[in-house]
Amino acid sequence: MMVYALRRILGAIPTLFVIVTLAFFMMRAAPGGPFDSERRLPPEVERNVKAAYDLDKPLVQQYGIYLGKLAHGDLGPSYKNKDFTVTQLIATGLPVSMRLGLCAMTLALLLGTFLGVMAALRQNRWQDYSVMGVAMLGITIPTFVTAPLLTLVFGIYGVTLFGHEFSLPVGGWNGGALANMVLPVTVLALPQIAVVSRLMRGSMVEVLRANYIRTARAKGLPVTRIVVRHALRAAVLPLVSYLGPALAAILTGSLIVEQIFGLPGIGRYFIQGALNRDYTLVMGVVICYAALVILLNLLADIVYGILDPKVRLA
């Protein structure tokens, strides 16, 4: 197991290398640079600024310098956010994004699994149809529609519950207060709840038809025990391999959610950086995202190996 994990981590290095190379040359191939502005800088100032950031050197040399620094864990200074290194910016943004993403992921997995199992147990009855209908809605309505709608209903109009009215904050992070998290996490989780419940229903329906489930029924085991102990363990496998794509989807969704709710995560830095041609910042965020996705894919594979005795990791 350890050997396998180590090999996978080493295998991730070429992947990261490809990403870095691709992102680096893509950004440089485009017209325009980080220090273009409405007012042209005096030529000597521009020369000095470019020299300070090594932008005056040939492209291949710049690439070499960047790789060299990267190997030491240095993502370079941000071109636009003066006095900050990219590492510092990511260090402030990443905890916010991580917290948001993890909460959304947990919510999606728990609620999605529950709904999917419910639908499978009541296959082709109204419970099944309503869960699947709502799931289809969750998949087809984009995040940037649900976000303003939920904001309007729960944030601006407010909801009356147990006799007194309350409303949720519609933006800002406020140090990660629970009330500030509710709306963004919900919006982020909704499409994933939908996908997870569809996946779970599909695999659960299949598993419930298996002979060993019939045996368990014939033995007279209670339904909850059959579901939890016998069926779920097999049915949850496709879900585990969905973890990687789910993370990618949540990261993508967080771009929108952070924008709409004004949260200080790295998604906002990415958009800002791309619009300002802040090369180093964009590269830093992309590398960070890619490393996250690779890590989670590895984790998913290891969990898969633990859950499915047919898979031997070596």
Partner: protein
């Protein structure tokens, strides 16, 4: 002689239901999928006929009726714009015709990007699957690597850097979506290449390229078709996502993403600006998903 004729006739009566006929029958019997096809055809027709259906042009600005509700809007509104079926947007353009023009762009992006992904994915997957061995392992390893990249980020970088180029948007999204296609096609190809007719073609001296394009690809059409119907809504969503961030289609052209993003800004004062494009888009995606599910059930009857 007469006896032979009768036997021939009998044989003709017995045969005659190919896989495709069977599949079509199953599809026709699937009510959700058929409804989806009909609605999609309707939306496509509306989009194509958009200029004929409305007296207003999609970029016709009218500052007298800014963000006005349609006449039939049941809730009280600040102002009303008679003759505008869906009301007007924040510079007084007719929303109905804009939603239909948005449909044109969104559907076009969906179809073109899917076609790009289809072309790359099918050729790549079929080649890998047919050649097998080391080449296959290497090619699929590349797909695995690309799979683990957050690719939307690359599309965003591309869109920012190359000034929101329309064509590039199509190609970029297509280039992101081909990976799954390649995997599906490879899997199918692996099983098909064991069949006798491939062996016969090889024995007959047909070149590998011709075998792939003439014999392998036509036989993977089924699963590919299913995946295509599921890719189109995905692409439409991606485009609207980019447009929402301000990186997609530029004014005065529009897409559902742009309209929804505008509508979300005005949601409190002019909810129709969000409602109509959102409903159109959701219905379209809904239909594509049901048609895709229906096709899968029709072509792959073991799952029932």
């Amino acid at each position: 002689m007469i006896a032979t004729g009768q036997t021939l006739k009998a044989v003709e009566e017995v045969q005659g239901r190919s896989l495709w006929v069977d599949a079509r029958r199953r599809l026709l019997r699937n009510r959700a999928a058929m409804a989806g096809i009909v609605i999609l055809a309707l939306i496509a027709a509306l989009a194509l006929l958009a200029p004929l259906l409305s007296p207003f042009a999609y970029n016709e600005v009218n500052y007298d009726i800014i963000a006005c509700a349609p006449n039939w809007w049941p809730v009280e509104a600040a102002c009303r714009a008679p003759g505008h079926l869906f009301g007007t947007d924040s510079v007084g353009r007719d929303l109905f015709v804009r939603v239909l023009f948005g449909a044109r762009v969104s559907l076009a992006v969906g179809l073109v990007a899917t076609a790009v992904s289809l072309l790359i994915g099918v050729l790549y997957g079929a080649t890998a699957g047919y050649l097998g061995g080391r080449v296959d392992a290497l090619m699929m390893r590349v797909v695995d690597i690309l799979y683990s990249l957050p690719f939307v980020f690359f599309v965003i970088i591309l869109m920012v850097l190359f000034d929101r180029n329309f064509i590039l948007l199509f190609v970029a999204i297509g280039a992101v979506e081909w990976l799954t296609m390649a995997r599906i096609v490879r899997g199918q190809t692996l099983s098909i290449k064991q069949k006798e007719f491939i062996e016969a073609a090889r024995a007959g001296g047909v070149s590998p390229f011709a075998i792939i394009t003439r014999h392998v690809i036509p036989n993977v059409v089924g699963p590919v078709m299913v995946y295509v119907t599921l890719t189109v809504p995905g692409v439409i969503l991606t485009e609207s996502f980019l447009s929402f961030l301000g990186l997609g289609i530029q004014e005065p052209l529009t897409s559902w993403g742009v309209l929804i993003s505008d509508g979300a800004d005005q949601m409190e004062t002019a909810p129709w600006m969000l409602l109509f494009p959102a409903v159109f888009m959701a219905v379209t995606l809904f239909c594509f998903n049901y048609v895709g599910d229906g096709l899968r059930d029709a072509l792959d009857p073991k799952d029932r």
